[in-house]
């Protein structure tokens, strides 16, 4: 069994247990152990920090992919794609759910080199170019901008897209995936921290600024009195 996450006093299992203890005991049935296990099983998957090993990329490719991801979600005052380990997420993606994008990455990395060589003949590699040069290259790469429509917004299709769209989607996914998975993204939950999502799976009201002091629903008539 795994150790509770010491760095996070509100890890999933602990917090769930605490919350449940505050509830009526009526539902504490034989199902209870299964529920706790359901909420904590995912956590086990990332118990030991992933060794920095790649399953698809050659090390030199990983450096380039990390550089691309870092321009998509840069590191500044707060962590970016680099700190979230997005390159490890993409690496695993390419041997799991996105295995049909392997060729797109190999070709895309070459395309980036080609664009770089055209625009900045002196630059050797994308990863060693200046941020301004990198952005110019990515701007040129991102010519296609498929529109997301409301009806399909829950299920973006990352296959059969231009390389830039694929790497963009993978960067976002690697930054914001539930860190309690074995996808190797959102390391230490830094992506969620950036967007303000607490790294927990159990919350209690009040949730936000407006419901904090909300007095509760009243019929319209009684308000008018």
């Amino acid at each position: 069994m795994q150790e509770p996450d010491r760095s996070n006093p509100f890890d999933r299992r602990t917090f769930l247990t605490r919350t449940a203890a505050g509830l009526s005991a009526a539902w504490l049935t034989s199902q209870w152990p299964a529920m706790v296990s359901a909420a904590s099983h995912a956590h086990a998957a990332v118990a030991n920090p992933a060794a920095a090993k790649f399953e698809f990329f050659k090390p030199e490719e990983a450096i380039e992919v990390e550089a691309i991801a870092s321009r998509n979600i840069p590191s500044d005052a707060t962590p970016g794609a680099k700190e979230a380990g997005v390159v490890y997420f993409i690496d695993r993606a390419l041997v799991t759910f996105a295995s049909d994008s392997q060729a797109a990455y190999r070709e895309g990395l070459q395309e980036i080199q080609t664009i770089l060589a055209e625009k900045f003949p002196g630059a050797k590699k994308f990863s060693s170019a200046t941020p301004e040069q990198q952005d110019t290259v990515l701007e040129a790469l991102s010519t296609s901008k498929p529109r997301m429509t409301s009806s399909r917004r829950n299920r973006p299709n990352s296959a059969s897209q231009p390389f830039f769209e694929t790497v963009r989607y993978h960067t976002i996914a690697g930054f914001l995936i539930d860190p309690d998975t074995d996808r190797r993204g959102n390391k230490d939950g830094v992506g969620w921290k950036v967007i303000g999502r607490e790294n927990s799976h159990t919350f209690q009201a009040p949730f936000g600024d407006l419901d904090k002091n909300y007095p509760g629903w009243q019929p319209v008539a009684s308000e008018k009195k």
């Binding site: 449940a20 509830l23 009526s24 009526a26 539902w27 049935t29 034989s30 199902q31 299964a34 529920m35 359901a38 099983h41 995912a42 321009r71 998509n72 840069p74 500044d76 707060t78 970016g80 993606a93 759910f97 952005d135 990515l138 991102s142 997301m148 429509t149 409301s150 009806s151 399909r152 829950n154 299920r155 973006p156 963009r168 989607y169 960067t171 976002i172 996914a173 914001l176 995936i177 539930d178 998975t181 996808r183 950036v194 967007i195 303000g196 999502r197 799976h201 919350f203 009201a205 009040p206 949730f207 936000g208 600024d209 407006l210 419901d211 909300y214 509760g216 629903w217 319209v220 308000e223």
Partner: protein, 555 residues
């Protein structure tokens, strides 16, 4: 725990074989097995439990943990019957024990009285096959109450002045009010409207074996790890299995309903997980496979007795598909709303349930709700950002960082008018991984549906404005090409020429074949169909039980 679960042989002639274990199938299984019948439920998807559920957006949304697989089950789409349909993912439905009820948003309002009698009330509508239901709201009322109490719905009776009459209050109070609900309520009241606590099929109080909602925030599209969401899996299937008379058989993909020479159903033919073919014998067959797969199964079961599809003498199998119209307006606020916490919806309004066609210039009605139903990746990858947001780089990062906790959606859901051309049928070319004809969807919204969606969407923007949104925008309303609500494709009616099942959900053509799910709908209501699917299932179970006890199924 699994040792005492009943297992039948395929050669055992059970009382009922039910195809599908979702919102309708789960209830029918529970009701019929409780009533003493021997039941086999054939579910095409796996038997997942809470332990298998995950907050992994890739696993759930990209790898379809809970839903139909586009690679195994491709489908095609076209707008009108004259066109050649092209491969395109056009529908999503639950493919696991519990069906779509595992991953729904859980909005559970009842249909109103108008939904059953629209044709009588408004007359014929050009371009629509609109007719009345053969049952009324009053017929269904006791079963809505049954859903609320047995499946588990949170809400506040009497809070909406537009609510239809009810025989009992909700069994438990509404879920907590989210910040989106507070701002929606204030803004809507400013506009003279009547917002009220959303009825949700999510527990606000624990029940035996089930936790109250722990507000994890992974609700729409995800399965609930603590059984707070009132799926069939959490609420009905365990009761059915406990009777010792109901077997849930997962990974069983039914592709034919077998008939005898007298034209009576004798059972269901299915592929097991190794693609071996079996016939499960039964005295009667109930299809609850959803509004797409139910008509497909009938069409796949064509035979010399029923050359155009089983129970299709009307020609209406697969026709009159309705998806519900609607749209989304979004706003960004100064306050930190943290709406990612919790279930999706805490406030809705029904002031526009029955719009006056003379005033608005179209037929239809709908509801509006305040929600945030986006998980982090899908928010940032495009679902939740203002249209002028840079797609990458520092400004992109700054926008997701600021907006995620401050964004709200006003979601509108409304009528789809039935049209004969809108349908599910068998694609003449494309096959699924089992070699069977793939689903072909044909859909073009009725012009009034588009007008309604635009009207509601505009109102959504007004509410966001009145709520003080610092930025607001809306997705353009376009003709729908993606289906989630699958309604009307084997409609219920008294006339065998214009409907597929009667008011007992019995097919007009085959006496021991019943269909009960979204396909039974005659009209679309105003969105949020699952509550009504479940009420219909409870009612169908009563009707079918009565028929069986009178010996009418084996005659």
């Amino acid at each position: 725990m699994t040792a005492d679960k009943v297992r039948y042989q395929t050669s055992d002639e059970v009382d009922f074989v039910i195809i599908g274990s979702g919102a309708a199938g789960g209830i029918l299984a529970k009701e019929l097995s409780t009533n003493g019948f021997r039941v086999v439920v054939l579910e095409q998807g796996p038997y997942l439990t809470e332990n298998d559920f995950s907050h992994d957006e890739i696993k759930v949304l990209q790898e379809d943990l809970l839903t139909n697989h586009p690679k195994l089950q491709p489908n095609t789409f076209r707008k009108t019957p004259g066109e050649k349909a092209k491969p395109q993912r056009a529908l999503v439905y639950g493919r696991a024990v519990g069906g779509t009820s595992n991953h729904f948003t859980a909005n559970f309002w009842r249909f109103h009285e108008i939904d059953f009698v629209e044709r009588t009330k408004v007359g014929a509508i050009p371009g629509s096959t609109l007719v009345d239901w053969p049952i009324t709201y009053a017929d269904l009322e006791p079963y809505y109450t049954k859903v609320e109490w047995e499946v588990g719905v949170s809400g506040l009776a009497g809070a909406s002045p537009f609510d239809p009459p009810r025989s009992k209050p909700y069994p438990m109070p509404p879920l907590p009010t989210k910040s989106s609900g507070v701002l929606f309520e204030r803004a809507a009241r400013k506009l003279g409207l009547n917002p009220f606590p959303a009825p949700m099929a999510i527990l606000s109080q624990p029940r035996p074996g089930r936790s109250a909602c722990i507000n994890c925030g992974f609700c729409l599209a995800f399965g609930c790890e603590v059984k707070a969401k009132s799926s069939s899996l959490a609420s009905m299937i365990p009761v059915a299995e406990k009777t010792g008379r109901c077997e849930i058989r997962p990974n069983s993909y039914v592709h034919k309903i077998e008939l005898d020479s007298r034209g009576r159903a004798v059972g269901a033919v299915y592929f097991d997980s190794r693609k071996n073919i079996h016939l499960q014998k039964a005295k009667a067959v109930i299809v609850s496979a959803n509004g797409a797969e139910t008509p497909r199964l009938l069409l796949l079961s064509a035979s010399s007795q029923f050359p155009t599809g089983l129970a299709n003498s009307s020609g209406y199998v697969g026709k009159n598909l309705m998806l519900n119209s609607g749209g989304i307006s979004l706003g960004v606020f100064d306050e930190q709303l943290n709406d990612y916490k919790g279930f999706a919806v805490s406030r809705i309004l029904h002031d526009f349930y029955e719009l006056d066609p003379q005033k608005v210039g179209f037929y239809g009605g709908g509801g509006l709700d305040a929600r945030f139903d986006m998980t982090p990746i899908n928010f940032a990858a495009g679902g939740g950002l203002p249209p002028d947001t840079p797609r990458w780089g520092k400004k992109f990062k700054d926008t997701i960082a600021y907006n995620f906790t401050r964004t709200v959606e006003v979601f509108s859901h409304g009528t789809s008018l039935p049209k004969e051309d809108n349908s599910f049928s068998l694609d003449p070319d494309l096959k699924d991984a089992w070699g069977l004809p793939a689903l072909r969807m044909t859909y073009k919204d009725h012009p009034d549906d588009i007008k309604l969606a635009k009207w509601l969407n505009e109102y959504g923007l007004q509410i966001l404005d009145a709520a003080g949104a610092k930025q607001k925008w809306t997705y353009p309303i376009e003709e729908q090409q993606f289906a989630v609500h699958l309604l009307g494709t084997c409609r219920m009616g008294a006339d065998p020429k214009t409907s597929v099942v009667n008011a007992d959900h019995r097919t007009h053509d085959v006496k021991n074949l019943f269909l009960c799910d979204g396909s039974s709908f005659v009209t679309s209501g105003r969105g949020q169909p699952t509550m009504t699917i479940e009420a219909l299932a409870f009612r169908a179970a009563d009707r079918i039980t009565a028929l069986a006890k009178r010996g009418e199924l084996s005659a």
